[in-house]
């Protein structure tokens, strides 16, 4: 294992997966399309999952209602995009981008506000009681889903895309959707930002220290509660952003979106290991690549494949691939 770890260890897993898929698929052009789709999907899922993982690592709180932020983000962004429908249709890239920025910003602000409310009202009273925590956040998820149903109705909603993100680029024989490339880039930028925040700033140092040993950080006089609510809001804002981008990716969304994504997000954080954004990114990319490759090779197995992947990885590493915290 020592050899393996020195050269990046488990982080080679997506590459190995891609190589195996390349052999199985046989056609380089389809492989490239699928790989790009998988990477962009992976980064969107990373946005949705990173908050869950960090919040658990820092405070031992697992929020089963996390997917509510994803749903709210998707629906808020879709509503804002629909409101600026005129701007989206125009040829001006400036107006296009403005509408898009407004939509994503609205989702982020809404997600952060909802996160604040969730933390103060739902999660705070049950910090150290896991059983009640699971039950209460589950209850909150039900209420949130019903509120979405009451506000936006149960019918599928169309999400208009900005004009300049429509279409595809042809590389060789494979067509790469512009939106996917955009989602990939945006996700990568956010990951980069998070990485710098956690590894190069004082606040990030405190967060990482808190994940590793909360009592010690508190004993040194830092208010971890205040830090925690910040991380919680950041996590919900990122989840809402992920939801907003997912809405544009799917172009048709239903209130069931949150529940569907929740399962994938859970599988991702279990595979990746809780508490570290590197682990979450790794889990998200592995799951998304797997889903795309298997979806192409054996469509019926797509969801079950992730389940099997999770089982195998848990047998190999019970705490996930790259956890920052050991699950006691």
């Amino acid at each position: 294992m020592g050899m393996l770890d020195r050269f990046g260890g488990v982080f080679w897993l997506p590459v190995i997966l891609a190589v195996i898929a390349f052999v199985l698929i046989g056609a380089p052009s389809s492989w490239l399309t699928l790989t790009v789709a998988g990477l962009s999907m992976g980064l969107m899922i990373f946005l949705m999952a990173s908050g869950l993982s960090l919040v658990f690592g820092l405070m031992d709180v697992l929020n089963f209602g996390h997917s509510a932020f994803v749903s709210f983000g998707a629906f808020v962004a879709a509503s804002v995009l629909a409101y600026f429908g005129g701007w989206l249709g125009s040829d001006s890239i400036l107006l296009n981008s403005l509408a898009l920025v407004f939509a994503i910003a609205a989702a982020i602000v809404f997600g952060a506000a909802l996160g604040w409310f969730f933390e103060r009202v739902i999660v705070k009273p049950v910090y150290s009681d896991h059983l009640r925590q699971i039950l209460i956040t589950m209850g909150a998820l039900i209420v949130a889903e019903q509120l979405i149903l009451a506000t936006w109705g149960g019918t599928p909603m169309n999400v208009p895309r900005p004009h300049f993100l429509e279409g595809a680029i042809i590389v060789g024989n494979s067509s790469l959707e512009v939106y996917r490339l955009f989602a990939f880039c945006l996700g990568a930028i956010v990951y980069g930002g998070l990485f710098v925040l956690l590894n190069r700033t004082r606040m990030g140092l405190l967060i990482r220290a808190g994940v590793e040993n909360r009592e010690m950080v508190e004993a040194l006089g830092f208010k971890i509660d205040r830090l925690f609510i910040g991380v919680f809001m950041l996590g919900s804002a990122l989840a809402a952003m992920g939801g907003a981008m997912w809405a544009g990716y799917e172009t048709i969304i239903t209130p069931a979106l949150g529940a569907e994504m929740m399962v994938i997000v859970f599988i991702v954080v279990i595979i990746g290991g809780l508490g570290s954004i590197q682990g979450t990114l790794l889990g998200a990319i592995v799951v998304a690549l797997m889903q795309n490759y298997v979806g192409f090779l054996a469509p019926k197995l797509a969801l079950a494949s992730n389940m099997i992947l999770m089982m195998v990885i848990l047998l190999w590493r019970p705490y996930g691939l790259a956890p920052a915290v050991k699950i006691k």
């Binding site: 658990f56 697992l62 089963f64 739902i122 009273p125 049950v126 896991h130 059983l131 009640r132 925590q133 699971i134 039950l135 209460i136 589950m138 209850g139 909150a140 039900i142 209420v143 889903e145 019903q146 509120l147 149903l149 009451a150 529940a259 929740m262 399962v263 859970f266 599988i267 954080v269 279990i270 019926k300 969801l303 079950a304 389940m307 999770m310 089982m311 848990l314 047998l315 019970p318 705490y319 699950i327 006691k328």
Partner: protein, 352 residues
């Protein structure tokens, strides 16, 4: 009076009402409610074994309920409606449940409760997706309609009077419907009794020890993972049997009646309302929730049309939104009455 006795009297009264339900309530819908209550008592009690007695949170309970129901449904549909195929279906459902439970248990019960909850949730949703995708086998979203053993058919004459017609006792027709109801009642009563015995047995005591202090239980020499896996398998088996009984009663099995996430939420609500870790609370919780499901919606319908002139309120009060209110009630209950009805009665009386 001792609180425990109060709870038992309430629960036994409910069982008594269920026993005479066909004679007390002659409306078709009310018999439907009574049968549903009986099945859900078993389902909730088996869930209480996990959450209340062992401190395991699983979201896969409807999956096992579904395995049992689909076992019977597929056997009756593919084969024919005889006891032979019924038994095959029940055994298949129970066997699949037990195997899956062992796999999940051994794989993930060694880690924290929260991890286990996530894994069961993922497993349950995969089962739900599979049920709707393998439509040639499971009937997909529409589910399966089938006929059951001839003794349970409404046209069957259980007892005949002098003229050869269906005998009436207290004005109740002794037909196949009565047979089906008492089949449900007796099966559920027996299953509930078995679970009561399990809780009172040495096994039950070990489980409670694990819930209270895992490290100490391990230290005394009990293999925690083995015990947890065992109780998970027992609960899964009980849920599968409840599913088989319910499938026999409904003559229909689909994702909405057995596998759906909404039912998982119902079970959670019932166990919390009734009182976790009390077993008898399951009777109270299941009864209240099923009654609410059937009659609260009517009430909301009235409230919704009464507030029609106001903005937003009719939307929130419409019967479709009843889960919203249940969710809010659920959160409040977990905050303020974590012991549930049975638990609160027991504590209050004990304190005096």
């Amino acid at each position: 009076m001792n609180g425990k006795i109060t709870v038992k009297i309430i629960a036994l009264t409910i069982w008594g009402l269920l026993l005479f339900a066909p004679f007390l309530f002659q409306d078709v819908r009310q018999i439907e409610v009574a049968a549903r209550i009986a099945v859900f008592i078993v389902l909730v009690a088996s869930y209480d074994l996990l959450i209340g007695y062992t401190g395991i949170v699983s979201f896969a309970h409807t999956m096992f309920f579904g395995f049992g129901a689909y076992g019977v449904a597929i056997a009756m549909k593919q084969g024919d409606s005889t006891w032979g195929f019924w038994i095959v279906g029940v055994l298949a459902g129970v066997l699949v449940s037990a195997i899956v439970a062992v796999l999940i248990g051994l794989l993930s019960l060694r880690v924290k409760a929260i991890f286990f909850a996530m894994i069961t949730l993922a497993a349950a949703s995969v089962a739900l997706v599979l049920a709707s995708q393998l439509s040639s086998f499971t009937g997909g979203e529409d589910g399966i309609t089938y006929s059951v053993q001839s003794i349970f058919k409404p046209a069957t004459k259980l007892l005949t009077d002098a003229e050869g017609g269906v005998l009436r006792i207290f004005d109740v027709r002794m037909n196949g419907k009565i047979a089906a109801y008492y089949f449900v009642f007796i099966s559920c009563a027996v299953l509930f009794w078995v679970m009561l015995r399990i809780v009172a047995s040495p096994l039950g005591t070990v489980l409670q020890a694990i819930r209270e202090n895992e490290a100490r239980a391990e230290g005394i020499g009990y293999r925690v993972v083995a015990y947890r896996t065992a109780v998970f398998v027992i609960a899964a088996t009980a849920a599968a049997l409840a599913g088989a009984v319910y499938a026999t009663w409904l003559k229909y099995t689909g994702p909405d009646t057995t596998l759906s996430f909404a039912i998982m939420i119902d079970i959670l609500l019932m166990v919390v309302i009734g009182g976790m870790g009390t077993m008898w609370g399951a009777v109270i919780g299941a009864t209240l929730m099923v009654m609410a499901q059937y009659y609260l919606r009517d009430l909301m319908e009235v409230a919704s049309s009464a507030t029609e002139a106001l903005p937003l309120l009719p939307d929130l009060l419409s019967p479709d939104r009843w889960l919203l209110w249940l969710g809010i009630i659920f959160i409040l209950l977990v905050y303020f009455f974590p012991a549930g009805i049975a638990g609160t009665i027991m504590q209050r009386r004990a304190a005096k």
